[in-house]
């Protein structure tokens, strides 16, 4: 039977197992949204296309499946851009479908036309402009394959309106063959043996795990390696949840706002075993001072990540899970007894602490969310101080429970991402830990959450500032708070206006109680925690310093 392009696209999505699309309709995507009207695919109508991209991203991070978003041409597509860049930086599998003006008008400055493949080229893993209906099914197959394999990432399919209406026989390919794209899954045995030898000889090894561990589902293998070689484990921001932070071998997060003991351990180690991490500048600090005595083993599926910033002694290009399995088969335990003692001394000497006063400390709110949820919630965040406190003071023990814009640092990410995460994991309590600045960037998605009964819980750490920038101004700009004092609406009334529930918390004793109540309410809830205005995120490594040069490590 002949089908039109819109039907072919939708059937292809069904073949790929897509059950939810986050999107916003428009002129040239009408044929597609019309077909979607009659399918089992849930169409979550967002209030801004950026929300659609972040929601698809949050869905992907919480489930490991490919998130799908949809927008019309021109402004619809350009509104996806920040979401695509966010997903690209954090290696998130996503397919974005954009409508395009009809093929005969492309390049004519037509109404709502933009060069979507041109605009999104550097911020996607790949993109397609489908000008021929015979290419459509194959393109969808390829897009999902590319998005979800290797180092995952977003893929854009730009689909002109006339192609949506052309007709042809539908036949979904069952295989992809791309001669130019074959990710390396299996490690070279010689390299694994070399790594095992280095580990066996090491005296001060540290495992440094990133988001790649979560993407490849290698957390069990990571745990096995750590136990086997008795090495401490630190994770990146993206790697939170890759290793249980309540385990005695855990050092928590490293880097600019990492724990002092993680940073000291890395700096004094003689062997760094990097797994699915990319030695980002927020992790390494000053490069020429980074871990001067350490040899480096680097397991990563992306060859470009190897020796990009830090010279690697043993590169192992492979899937993290397979690589760790192979390593675990042959690795022998080094003697790390003294090293672990030293690491534990650092832990005792430099614990993560914060100041308490009359007002609510923002860190305390995060700790209470952890306690009330038993660490079983999915925590999404915005970007800035809220994000760092959420990273530091909630104890992550399972993968895919931490959802945050790491690489791009996108304010306004948390709420739409939480919506996507809750749809992906309806069984979970989903929090968006937010600042009063960030939450205002995509606040319109409250309507999406309320309308679809996506009962996310928003905890605003309200300090009246763009706190992270204010912190930098306090420390490095002579307390000149240029453009960082920010006002917002009455968040309780705002919540009510949207049909959600708002709760304001000013007293320490009400924090835990409010969190419990909010979870129990079968609705979207905003908790507006009025917190200490000038609390800082410590420890902190000033930009350009070595990561053991921390401010406030003993706060």
């Amino acid at each position: 039977m002949k089908k039109n392009g819109a039907q072919i696209l939708v059937d292809s999505l069904l073949h790929e197992g897509v059950r939810v699309i986050f999107g916003y309709p428009g002129g040239v995507i009408l044929p597609l949204t019309d077909v979607l009207y009659d399918t089992p695919i849930d169409f979550i109508l967002v209030r801004h296309e950026q929300g659609a991209a972040h929601a698809a991203d949050g869905y992907a991070r919480s489930t490991g499946k490919v998130g799908v978003c949809l927008a019309t041409s021109g402004p619809g597509a350009t509104n996806l851009v920040t979401g695509l860049a966010t997903a690209h930086m954090d290696s998130i599998p996503m397919v974005a479908i954009t409508g395009q003006v009809k093929t005969s008008l492309i390049g004519n400055d037509a109404f709502q036309e933009s060069d979507v493949t041109g605009i999104t080229r550097p911020i996607t893993k790949h993109n397609y402009l489908v000008k021929d209906i015979s290419e459509l099914a194959k393109t969808v197959k390829e897009a999902f394959h590319i998005a979800s394999t290797g180092r995952p990432g977003p893929v854009v399919i730009d689909l002109p309106v006339d192609v949506q209406m052309q007709e042809m026989e539908f036949d979904y390919p069952d295989k992809v063959s791309l001669r130019s794209y074959i990710p390396t899954l299996n490690p070279r045995p010689g390299h694994v043996r070399k790594a095992a030898k280095l580990i066996e000889k090491s005296k001060r090894p540290v495992i440094y795990a990133g988001g790649g561990v979560i993407i490849s589902g290698a957390h069990d293998q990571l745990l096995e390696l750590a136990f086997k070689i008795k090495a401490p484990v630190t994770t990146t921001l993206m790697g939170l949840g890759a290793f249980p932070e309540n385990n005695e071998l855990s050092l928590g997060m490293l880097g600019m706002h990492g724990t002092a003991y993680a940073n000291h351990s890395i700096m004094e180690s003689d062997l760094i075993i990097a797994v699915g991490a990319r030695f980002d500048d927020r992790v390494t600090g000053r490069l020429d001072k980074f871990a001067p005595e350490a040899k480096v083993i680097h397991i990563d599926i992306d060859p470009t990540a190897i020796s990009k910033n830090i010279k690697v002694d043993v590169p192992i290009v492979c899937d993290a899970k397979i690589g760790l399995e192979e390593l675990n088969k042959i690795v022998k335990k080094p003697n790390t007894k003294e090293w672990l003692k030293k690491v534990n001394d650092w832990k005792k000497k430099y614990p993560l602490t914060y100041k308490t006063g009359k007002k609510i400390s923002p860190q305390y709110v995060v700790e209470q969310i952890y306690k009330v949820t038993n660490g079983d919630a999915i925590i999404c965040t915005e970007v800035g101080q809220n994000q760092m406190w959420a990273a530091q003071y909630y104890t992550y023990t399972k993968p895919r429970t931490w959802i945050s814009s790491g690489g791009l640092g996108t304010m306004g990410y948390g709420l739409p991402a939480a919506i996507g995460a809750k749809i992906g994991r309806p069984d979970k309590i989903v929090f968006d830990i937010a600042g009063d600045g960030s939450i205002q960037m995509n606040i319109q998605e409250l309507a999406t959450a309320v309308a679809n009964k996506i009962n996310v819980k928003i905890a605003i750490l309200n300090n009246g500032y763009l706190g992270m920038v204010r912190q930098w101004q306090e420390l490095f700009y002579d307390k000149r708070y240029a453009s960082t004092l920010i006002t917002g609406p009455d968040f309780v009334k705002l919540a009510e206006a949207y049909g959600a529930v708002g709760m304001r918390v000013k007293n320490l004793k009400d924090v835990a109680k409010t969190i419990k109540e909010a979870i129990a309410i079968p609705n979207v809830v905003i908790m507006d925690f009025i917190v200490e205005e000038e609390a800082n995120v410590f420890p902190m490594v000033p930009a350009g310093e070595a990561i053991n040069q921390m401010i406030g490590a003993l706060a």
């Binding site: 493949t117 041109g118 080229r121 550097p122 893993k125 790949h126 402009l129 590319i146 791309l178 001669r179 130019s180 794209y181 992306d302 060859p303 470009t304 020796s307 990009k308």
Partner: protein, 157 residues
């Protein structure tokens, strides 16, 4: 140091933009770029001459090229034995030169005179980079009116 690298790529729209974007996003200049179909019409070959300050940057360029979905393979000819050529078309002033003298001047180069009229001659040259420079130096004495180069292409021996 100058490097001669090549990429076999899918013969599709947008591939050139992906590759040039990869260079421009990192602030690298491509000294010379030549693209053409290979014996397999589904594939094109690009030859690029790039100036990389250190090996690390070059390694990144090659890896990043390889990472592009439409790039089938990437090679570096710099340290291998390879043959390199560039086609150059030169329009020169011959108003004050006889054809015989012109022939003499060009005798040691691999060139053809494509047209020669009263005041203007067009010359085609296929040479290495060094020999092309030498040729241009010689012709400058007469006066170069216009110069077109294809960019260098290279093949391993």
């Amino acid at each position: 140091m100058k490097h001669t690298i090549y990429a076999l790529v899918e013969n599709k729209p947008g591939v050139l933009a992906r590759i040039s974007g990869l260079f421009s996003a990192r602030g690298f200049n491509i000294e010379s770029l030549a693209v053409g179909e290979t014996h397999d019409p589904t594939m094109s070959r690009m030859t690029m001459i790039v100036d990389a300050k250190d090996e690390k940057i070059l390694e990144q360029i090659k890896k990043q090229l390889n990472k592009l979905i439409d790039v089938v393979s990437v090679g570096d000819l710099t340290k291998k034995k390879f043959i390199e050529r560039e086609l150059v078309l030169i329009k020169i002033n011959v108003a004050k030169t006889s054809k015989q003298k012109l022939n003499e001047m060009l005798s040691k180069f691999s060139v053809r005179i494509l047209s020669c009229e009263k005041s203007t001659a067009i010359i085609e040259a296929t040479e290495t980079k060094e020999r092309t420079s030498l040729l241009l130096e010689t012709l400058r004495k007469l006066g170069i009116k216009e110069l077109v180069r294809t960019g260098r292409i290279a093949i391993a021996e």
